[in-house]
């Protein structure tokens, strides 16, 4: 039963790689966006906020199709990227990472934004009277104090990315070894005769990954809280 086949291993490792890359690339961007939404007023802020949340409310297949239209090989942006920079997303694992990143972005941004909003602005003022330029106020006061939220956002984003299915399969299809993640492998297996045992193995693996992510996030959050308020 627990003999995980090479194809299954490929799907598991690909899922981990896709979700990790998606989270690592999306995090700096997510922090920047969260900071803008939490600390700045600008024209079109409501529109930006809505656009970020769109993948959360749109059917995933719609998001995937929109990605295909814009970033596909013949897409508006995709064609230019491929011709000028040689970057191709469609039917590549990088495209899977992109789809996962877009889908998990709202979940990543939200806890970060909330934790930045919770940072006492009076501490930021104190930092500036001590000679800290705005970006150093951010790196030395705002970001360390918002760290628990950043970690929570990363774990949530990672968990969402690991489980993402609809947008990924629409945008990059289900190619074993290239774009077949755990989710799309399970989907393929349950429509294959005698695929049940393999599907079940992957289900157990994805439960284990999700649980480890949650335990890790809890551990990080506790450590961060202790660091902030403790001894």
């Amino acid at each position: 039963m627990f003999d995980i086949s090479p194809t299954e291993w490929t799907a598991i490792l690909l899922s981990l790689r896709v979700a990790s890359i998606a989270t690592l690339v999306a995090t700096p961007l997510g922090i920047a966006v969260a900071w803008l939404l939490a600390r700045r007023d600008f024209w079109g802020k409501a529109a930006v906020d809505a656009a970020i949340h769109l993948p959360l409310v749109l059917p995933p297949v719609v998001t995937g199709y929109l990605l295909l239209l814009t970033l596909g090989r013949r897409g508006l942006v995709g064609e230019w990227l491929a011709d000028h920079l040689g970057i191709v997303f469609a039917f590549r694992w990088t495209g899977a990472a992109l789809a996962c990143g877009v889908m998990s972005f709202p979940l990543l941004v939200r806890p970060i934004r909330l934790s930045i909003e919770a940072v006492d602005r009076r501490l930021e003022q104190a930092a500036s009277t001590l000679g800290a330029a705005p970006w150093r106020v951010f790196t030395s006061v705002t970001l360390p104090l918002a760290l628990p939220g950043v970690l929570a956002g990363m774990v949530l984003g990672f968990a969402k990315a690991i489980g993402e299915f609809g947008a990924t399969i629409t945008f990059v299809s289900n190619i074993p070894g290239e774009t077949q993640t755990i989710s799309s492998a399970i989907y393929a297996l349950i429509s294959t005769p005698n695929g049940d045992a393999a599907a079940l193995r992957l289900v157990i693996v994805s439960v284990l990954i999700a649980m480890s992510a949650l335990i890790a996030s809890e551990w990080f959050a506790r450590r961060a809280t202790r660091r902030l308020h403790g001894n």
């Binding site: 006492d120 009076r122 501490l123 003022q125 104190a126 930092a127 500036s128 009277t129 001590l130 000679g131 800290a132 330029a133 705005p134 150093r136 106020v137 030395s140 006061v141 360390p144 104090l145 660091r227 902030l228 308020h229 403790g230 001894n231």
Partner: protein, 238 residues
Amino acid sequence: MVRAARDATLARKLIMLRVDVSKQLGDFKLEAAFESEGRVTGLFGSSGAGKTSLINMIAGLLRPDRGSIAVDGEVLDDTASRLHVPAHRRRIGYVFQDFRLFPHLDVGENLDYGRRMNGLTEDAARRKRVTDLLDIGGLLDRRPGKLSGGERQRIALGRALLAQPRLLLLDEPLGSLDEERKEEILPYLVRLRDEAGIPMVYVSHDAAELRQLATQIVMLKRGHVTVFGGVKVLSGAQ
């Protein structure tokens, strides 16, 4: 000749603070103008008189609608020429009523913060002088969350001093302390005035406190400067 030279050194030592600003804050209009050369300028007034808004403008945390602010002849704000030096480039220290120590840094790191941010070289002697002056040498490894109000305020004073400001603003530094703690801090403030050699603007609604510390008084009432002069202008005030 000798006289002129001595006057010049004195003038260099005494800070010259020139403020002439107005700012609309809700229904309240702050319109204040004064010049001060004292070692400790006491900004006196009841709560709601606009004291904190006024020193926030001196610190650069708040922008005046109109007017100018200059310290030692350097213009920091001038709305006519759209000049506004941001807070972090003013080298003006600020000690807040509510301490505002960084909770994620220990006491030593809090004290070191201003030096790091201003790119100043490490100066163990200066650091020792300040920690001795404020008796905080034994607290360096602690976290602010574990300290008493009096200890926190002494660390906030040390933190501001070690950033080597040219002017130190103190906004009701005893305001959130009980009587016992006030008595604990007051001697340190006197020592600071006499030994640290940094001119200060000291905000308070307590005339007794200012009588002990200030060398000049600016009295603020409903957003306007009503009296300006020596400490004797406080007689009758309470």
